[in-house]
Amino acid sequence: MAKATFSVWRGDNGAGAFREYSTEVSEGMVVLDAVHQIQAEAAPDLACRWNCKAGKCGSCSAEIDGQPRLMCMTRLNQLDLTKPVTVEPLRAFPHLRDLVTDVSWNYQVKKGIKKFAPRKPDAEDGTWRMQQEDVDRVQEFRKCIECYLCQDVCHVLRDHHLHDQFIGPRFLVYAANLEMNPIDTGDRLDDLRKLHGIGYCNITKCCTKVCPEEIKITDNAIIPLKERVVDEAFDPLAKLIQIVTGKIPGP
């Protein structure tokens, strides 16, 4: 069996260093398997968050060879094993221990987005009627597993640490999911511009590239939201139509 070396970040609260571990690897292994093997063989105190091992819980997010990825979905044959494989915690969030970060900021952000506000039920039993073609768009957004890889790779959060002014790609997807929902009546566009900092996104598409669910975050969520914000705040013609008709965006 072949051996591979993993350079794993060890330390608490941001302080620490890479430590190298060699372990045997075999066909079909993923990085999470290797991390578990390292825990079993050499570092039982290595902290790492994981759960489903199937790319659906979004727990094992890390930076592997500098790229934000799910450890459970990164097969070793996708990596160059002739050099040590680096495994680091997410850099956009406060570090706790080894590969574990505190992602609770995301939960607070979610609370700050206006909640789903459905229109009056369509039927007397309190239910709504929706056509499939009306929910096709938002179903893509519901694939999100909240792994926060998109938040991690976004340079607005990662490099500029504008957590207090920008909600990040994950929550722009969440807002798009609500804004485009055919029975939602809420208006989040003003908040998106003024509170949630959609203007900080400069469309680098890094979030789209790292999404394990292959959600077209930039093209299908962020840019359509930016266009809706333009309708509301930057387009004089749309504003004129709004003044004349009383409203622009319709269901």
């Binding site: 790229q67 490099d159 909600i167 900080y200």
Partner: protein, 267 residues
């Protein structure tokens, strides 16, 4: 909004743990866009060799004022300031140029390639401050939809140019007859590529129905939105192909006009 304390140290410019050649893509974008800008600027200032037979270079179309038979209103007007260089291309090129400059796809690309903001995904940045597109001048990127409308008008002009490129005049008799040359196909391919790029633009997609939440109540929007979305999925490819094609069409007409290349008459 809640704050998050991020104690991990900020990375220096270009610093990354990535092991792949992340710098190749922004470098290619930088080289191609710079080359295109230099060539297009040079070509626009030439004010010569932009027509050949029935062909008109897309850099000079529509020719509002100019010396060729394609000009709408005749030669350079008398009121044109003497200090201002004149070329038919200088009058019209700002519109397609600003359409591309404000395009969502190009924005993401040139922010990386020209401004290193960021240089690559998960690669350290050179600057500490960041304003995004929230303030002047980048807040002006929001006018993209207006340039998109001008781009649609240009598509109409260029389509008409393709029709004109099928009307060949016999030098001896002065009679006009239908024909197709290699240049006709080049100009037609240019319209197809520009159409693919313009009609799949994110602003176009929004105007064609993206702003609606329910297509079932407004079926007239369904087909246009789906068609635009289909083109939008390859928007980046259309962006590059159309950029190459428009430059190639200009080069083709220029070479024919200069006598370096003889147009191939297919029938």
């Amino acid at each position: 909004m809640s704050h998050a304390t991020v104690p991990l140290t900020r990375r220096r410019y270009g610093e990354t743990m990535r092991q792949d050649a992340w710098w190749v893509e922004p470098l290619i974008v930088f080289v191609i866009l710079t080359s295109f800008l230099v060539y297009a600027t040079w070509a626009a200032f030439q004010n010569a060799h932009y027509t050949a037979g029935p062909y008109l270079s897309p850099f000079y179309s529509p020719e509002i004022f100019g010396d060729s038979p394609h000009a709408w209103f005749g030669p350079k007007p008398g009121w044109w300031p003497a200090w201002l260089p004149f070329s038919p291309a200088l009058i019209i090129l700002p519109f397609p140029a600003l359409f591309r400059f404000t395009c969502y796809y190009y924005r993401g690309s040139y922010y990386k390639a020209f401004w290193a903001d960021p240089p690559g995904c998960s690669v350290g940045e050179p600057r500490k401050t960041y304003l995004g597109e929230r303030y002047f001048p980048l807040i002006l990127q929001n006018v993209h939809r207006y340039f998109m409308v001008t781009a649609v008008l240009f598509l109409g002009f260029l389509t008409y140019d393709v029709y004109l490129a099928t009307q060949f005049t016999d030098a001896a008799t002065g009679a006009t007859s239908f024909g197709i040359g290699l240049g006709t196909l080049v100009l037609a391919a240019n319209v197809v590529c520009l159409g693919g790029y313009t009609l799949g633009c994110h602003s176009m997609r929004h105007i064609l129905g993206g702003w609606r939440d329910q297509f079932s109540k407004n079926p007239a929007f369904r087909v246009p939105y789906n068609c635009s979305s289909c083109l939008n999925r390859s928007h980046h490819r259309w962006a590059w192909v159309s950029l190459f094609m428009v430059a190639f069409a200009d080069i083709y007409v220029r070479l024919c006009s200069m006598g370096i290349w003889t147009d191939l008459r297919l029938f």
